[in-house]
Symmetry: C2
Amino acid sequence: MSTTLKPSLYTCLSPALLHLYDINTSVVVIIDVLRATSTIATALHNGAKEIIPVDSVDECIRIGKQMSAITAGERDGKVAEGLQYGNSPFEYPAEFITGKTLVLTTTNGTKLLHMAIDNGASEVITGAFANLDAVCNYLIQAKKPVLLGCAAWKDRVNIEDTLFAGAVINQIQDHFTINCDSSKMALDLYHSALPNLFSFFKNKEASHFLRLSAFGLDKDMEHCLTPNTAPVLPVYKEGKLII
Amino acid sequence: MSTTLKPSLYTCLSPALLHLYDINTSVVVIIDVLRATSTIATALHNGAKEIIPVDSVDECIRIGKQMSAITAGERDGKVAEGLQYGNSPFEYPAEFITGKTLVLTTTNGTKLLHMAIDNGASEVITGAFANLDAVCNYLIQAKKPVLLGCAAWKDRVNIEDTLFAGAVINQIQDHFTINCDSSKMALDLYHSALPNLFSFFKNKEASHFLRLSAFGLDKDMEHCLTPNTAPVLPVYKEGKLII
């Protein structure tokens, strides 16, 4: 394949940098490994009918009542006050979530998703290690420009979302033109983290490791850093994430 | 030394993220390896009396005339129209620059410096590989919080400034509390780039490598990635960088 025919790939390391990238013609991949997009893939894989990502806790409660749906979400790593469930993939096994609608709000992931939509993104999917291969396979066959959008933590660049961007780039780089230092740094970080992403994450004492570990959530983190536990492709359509 | 007594260290990977950090009580290190802060260290090491960093080409010309100073700067990697000199450390040997005042404007570095000043930074120094050890030695003895501020490229995160942040962290990390994923990623990138930073930078086809290489500036880049060629500490005081 000639280099000039390959679509571009960029990585946006923080929502505060989103305005630098062309999101209108790209497939935008929303990445919030800990834990929004891991939980989205898991709930849909386990049979959830749809997930409605919302900006605020109030809206989550309002829409949840209106649709008789499950309300879920976190603020600062804990279940948000007034919501029923949290942001852990383990809260959504098939026997609980099958056929149900989940209304979800999180600190970073749902915020970035709405930023992308509000700024004119035409195609938005969500990615996490849980659905790594599904995302990669889709991006390769779509043959469109790609923007890997890291949700980060309150706009601060984080290791786990960057690692996932690196994992995607590792699989699909031959199909894209990548003139983007953030992407190259993400790939390098991913290679440096192999073979055990959770050990790397723990040994680095990443900010989110310290935050969630204090809540006893090591098992969540290890699960969220494991590839392909929920091999589905969540796509945003008319206000909902579906597969 | 007890952990609780160590000052904090953060890395800001792009000027667009500067608002996330407390710059008022930190030593802010402005980093623009290619090439503003490399040239600043070199010119001062070679005897320049002072360097006046300015925002715009027009202001550069105006102040240059007013002070009968040398005007220099670049836009997009080339000498800016209307200015006398560019942004290469090789343009400022001792026989030319000794005793002179240099008025300098660049695409990213001088912009970040003014952002920091305008937002209340009380202490600003400049860093590049050219003065790596001088910066590290100062930060260790200052015992204050540190913000490593990468100038990046038009707000996009770049490899070379992140690499320098990593090189600083590699030397001084034992003296600081670092709960900052960007810093950990920078350190990891630096380790990955050793032993030959320029080879790493070239092999990665970093954005700035491609940009400057197209202008035949490989020699500049290799020089700017070489540690301690200009062992001075440029400090910003009353509108001027001096040593």
